[in-house]
């Protein structure tokens, strides 16, 4: 059997060689940075992507701060939070950016985040003044069902109207257990209908063509015309209009009002660059950043800038009534509501 060792040895040698070469090549591709301080920000993938807000924000901030800004992308905002939780006090993150108010309480409960110390006077959120000293809002949008105007000439105007439509009118939604819009819809119906929320879901069930894991799967199916409407944001049509010059898409205005998603950022308590992080938090509310956000993240900025909203945003449907549940209440009852939802849709 000794002969077999030889063949094995040579196989291992080849493998080791290839691994070394590969490792070296990979090491070379990672860029070394020479700036004095590095500000590390954990966020979700599309925020950090080349076409997202991160590159513009990074460039603008680096011009003034004499530091290096590093955006680290997780697969979702919850993913970014989980990563900090996993790393605990030894995390490299100075800031976590992109959580929403529905998950913020869970984040607060970890005790990993400190105060932002930013001046919030500039904020012009639909909910009025902002009092949270840990989580700082930087943009927002409303959950809404998006449809194609050519294919749906008379969109429903409420959940009741939607439920009254024949069952071959199909919608695609996301799972509240894995997606923030999915959770948003659950809270939306809960806030609008309270104890009757379950009945709304029961009536809605035959129209749900599928429940997807994330926003992108659902939106992809909608664009393939597998459903008449998709759960997304009131600001989604702006992407099609501005980036694709396609004006066929709109969001359906619901009488019950629309649930708000406010995206927030927070400083990690264990950060060694607190002063720099605080500077960045304030910078997030500057006109520079707030003007970058609409056409890169496709949501509303959190302040009213001098330049104002881009053209495509002005024609969007702006909900008259805003719904938002208190984060503490959400955290308390979330799993109960989700269990109920699973039971209702599982029938």
């Amino acid at each position: 059997m000794s002969g077999k060792y030889q063949s094995v040895k040579s196989t291992i040698k080849t493998a080791a060689k290839a691994l070394t070469i590969g490792g070296l090549t990979l090491a070379c591709t990672s860029v070394a940075t020479a700036a004095d301080k590095t500000l590390t920000i954990y966020t979700y993938d599309s925020f950090a992507a080349d076409w997202g807000p991160a590159p513009g924000i990074e460039k603008a901030f680096e011009e003034t701060c004499e530091c290096d800004v590093q955006f680290i992308a997780a697969d979702s905002s919850i993913g970014a939070l989980r990563r900090v939780q996993l790393e605990g006090a030894s995390t490299k993150a100075d800031i976590v950016l992109g959580l929403d108010t529905n998950i913020a309480e869970a984040a607060r409960a970890t005790g990993l985040f400190g105060t932002h110390n930013a001046d919030t006077a500039a904020l012009t959120l639909p909910t009025g003044e902002w009092s949270d000293d840990v989580f700082l809002p930087f943009d927002y949008s409303y959950f809404a069902f998006v449809y194609n105007k050519e294919k749906v000439p008379a969109p429903p105007t409420s959940f009741e109207a939607l439920n009254a439509l024949p069952d071959d009118f199909k919608i695609v939604i996301q799972d509240p257990r894995s997606s923030t819009p999915g959770l948003g819809l659950l809270l939306w119906i809960q806030e609008a209908y309270g104890d009757e929320a379950n009945d709304v879901w029961k009536a809605l069930q035959p129209k749900i063509v599928t429940v997807t894991k994330g926003w992108s799967d659902a939106y992809g199916l909608f664009l393939k015309d597998e459903a008449d409407m998709v759960l997304s944001y009131t600001t989604s049509p702006a992407y099609h209009e501005i980036a694709e010059e396609d004006t066929r898409f709109a969001s359906a205005a619901f009488d019950e009002g629309h649930y708000l998603q406010i995206e927030v950022a927070a400083i990690v308590e264990s950060s060694k660059n607190k002063a720099l992080a605080e500077e960045f938090m304030q910078f997030m509310l500057s006109d520079t950043v707030q003007d970058i956000i609409p056409t890169t993240n496709w949501v509303y900025p959190a302040t009213t800038t001098k330049q104002g909203l881009p053209e495509g945003f002005k024609t969007l449907h702006l909900p008259e009534k805003t719904l938002l549940k208190d984060g503490v209440e959400v955290e308390k009852q979330r799993s109960e509501w989700i269990d109920q939802w699973v039971e209702t849709l599982g029938q």
Partner: protein, 530 residues
């Protein structure tokens, strides 16, 4: 023998280390399985069983047809395409299936063109899950079964003919004994693939009632950050799959010779027409989703995609990672298979309880990772990385390579180990008398004899590693982007056209890699076994 056993032990140790990482974390409180475990388990088993039965029956039928129909133009291409089913990027193909069978799909276009009423949406829910599972797994089963059918020696076919056996008798008396062992193995693998199915169930599942265990684990970790429940569910999954592996390994494997010459036993008449029909229908069904991905992808702006430096970087990284993974798969699966053969072949160490036990260890360790949830694997690595320290890029590379190898290993060993055993049984005496040992034996004997298996494993390792998102999402980093990760990002930010383009690139590389051996082999004569 020992390097393989060490590898097997290392694999089991690695699983234990990664799992235990989750228990060390403060987020793991009490081990639980949640309140819906019975219904989740019931549903997961039901869909996996249905998918497996359908896939195996369809796959065997196709393999039988292909083998008996004999040559037709493009036969080898057809078979090469079938091989690629296992590695085609799942999400990409699922969207292709939607393009074909969806509400606004091609089928409905055709139906309305010929004036028949359009079909309702049926691909979400159980039918969709079964269709997608069959797409991937029936092709996989067919490819494996085809090899078994082809390995039946010509002499037996001739004998059957001279005895005047009909197709059914032939199947029962000659072919079934030759494929039974493989069927049970393939069925086990397919069952596990469907049991742990993730992306397909998430996209086509339709409603939360169709949640698999794997999806529940995702939910426990992602939204509830409940490691105790995640571990409880992961252990449940491991337990079911582990029991299955052990059970399947108990099934006696028939030992058949590798055929030197292709058995040409073509049928006539109705039987032959039926075979051709199966081949054509299956071929069309297989090609349609691929064609859909191509049509969707061609609409993308190619100049923009190829000049994007992120794309270029992702392409280079992905190809490199895939290449290294291939080498690692080669090394580990060879080690495991050599040991397996040594512990199986009667003339070596094939007797005794200990051998059987060690053989089980090898099978078990190489198959185990089919049952380990990717998220648990990734998290284990992540926590380990943190405890040990070092750059995330390095850890991301290590974790990605490891997960790639573990992902391919069940298939690689599943193919190589029995082949090695057969080669041992047939050629041990001859090689000993010729003094062929070790490397030279490998070079002159196995590398020729097992050529098609080795090529298949290389293609498998490369493509699976290339198309899998794996666990990179956990280690997110600006400087380390792979193609699937880029695809995922584009899909998550309205860029459906670019995403379709990147999906097409991944698909094309996958197909090219699988068809390349075909292109090359055409120019050299087939090697007859020595």
């Amino acid at each position: 023998m020992f390097p393989g056993l060490i590898t097997a032990s290392a694999l089991l140790l690695l699983a234990a280390v990664l799992f235990s990482q989750l228990t060390f974390h403060p987020s793991a409180t009490t081990l639980s399985v949640g309140s819906r475990i019975i219904s989740i388990l019931g549903w997961t088993t039901l869909q996996a069983t249905l998918s497996t039965v359908l896939s195996v029956v369809l796959g065997t039928l196709l393999a039988w047809s292909l083998s008996h129909y004999g040559s037709f133009p493009g036969r080898s291409w057809y078979i090469a395409l079938l091989s690629s089913a296992l590695v085609l990027p799942t999400l990409v193909i699922v969207l292709g299936i939607v393009t074909v069978l969806g509400r606004s799909g091609w089928l409905n276009d055709v139906l309305s063109y010929i004036g028949v009423a359009k079909h309702d949406t049926f691909i979400f829910g159980l039918p969709g899950i079964l269709i997608a599972h069959c797409y991937f797994n029936a092709s996989y089963a067919a490819r494996i079964m085809f090899d078994r059918f082809e390995a039946i020696p010509t002499e037996q076919a001739k004998l059957a003919r001279s005895l005047g056996l009909n197709a059914w008798q032939r199947f029962k008396m000659i072919e079934w004994p030759a494929i039974a062992g493989t069927i049970s193995k393939a069925a086990t693998t397919i069952f596990m693939l469907c049991f742990t199915s993730f992306s397909i169930v998430l996209v086509l599942g339709g409603s939360p009632k169709y949640n698999t265990l794997e999806v529940s684990i995702y939910e426990a970790i992602k939204l509830d950050f409940d490691f105790g429940r995640a571990l409880g569910l992961a252990f449940t999954q491991l337990l079911v799959c582990g029991a299955l592996v052990l059970f399947a390994n108990r099934a006696k494997h028939r030992d058949r010779l590798i055929s030197a010459t292709r058995a040409t036993h073509t049928d006539q008449g109705l039987l032959r027409a039926w075979q051709l029909f199966s081949i054509i229908v299956f071929g069309i069904l297989f090609l349609l989703p691929i064609a859909a991905v191509i049509t969707d992808g061609l609409k993308a702006n190619w100049v923009q995609i190829f000049t994007d430096k992120n794309f270029q970087q992702a392409l280079v990284t992905s190809v490199l990672i895939a290449a290294i993974s291939t080498v690692l798969v080669y090394a580990s699966s060879t080690l495991l298979s050599i040991s397996y053969a040594t512990l199986t072949a009667e003339q070596r160490y094939g007797h005794g309880k200990l051998s059987r036990w060690l053989r089980q260890l090898i099978s078990f360790s190489s198959t185990l990772y089919l049952a380990v949830p990717a998220l648990v694997l990734g998290l284990g690595f992540f926590i380990l990385a943190q405890r040990i320290g070092g750059s995330y890029t390095t850890w991301a590379v290590v974790a990605l390579l490891t997960s790639n190898v573990l992902m391919v290993l069940p298939f690689a060993v599943g193919m190589l180990a029995p082949a090695m055993t057969k080669s041992a049984n047939r050629y041990d005496k001859l090689s000993r008398s010729m003094g062929l040992r070790g490397w030279s034996r490998w070079r002159f004997l196995e590398s020729h004899l097992l050529k098609s298996e080795l090529i298949y494993i290389a293609c498998l390792a490369f493509c699976m590693s290339l198309g899998d998102l794996g666990i990179i999402a956990l280690f997110g980093n600006q400087d380390f982007i792979t193609l699937p990760w880029l695809l995922y990002q584009k899909m998550g930010s309205y860029r459906t056209d670019e995403a379709a383009g990147i999906a097409l690139v991944i698909l094309m590389i996958t197909l090219l890699v699988f068809l390349l051996p075909m292109l090359l082999r055409r120019q050299e004569p087939t090697h007859a076994a020595p």
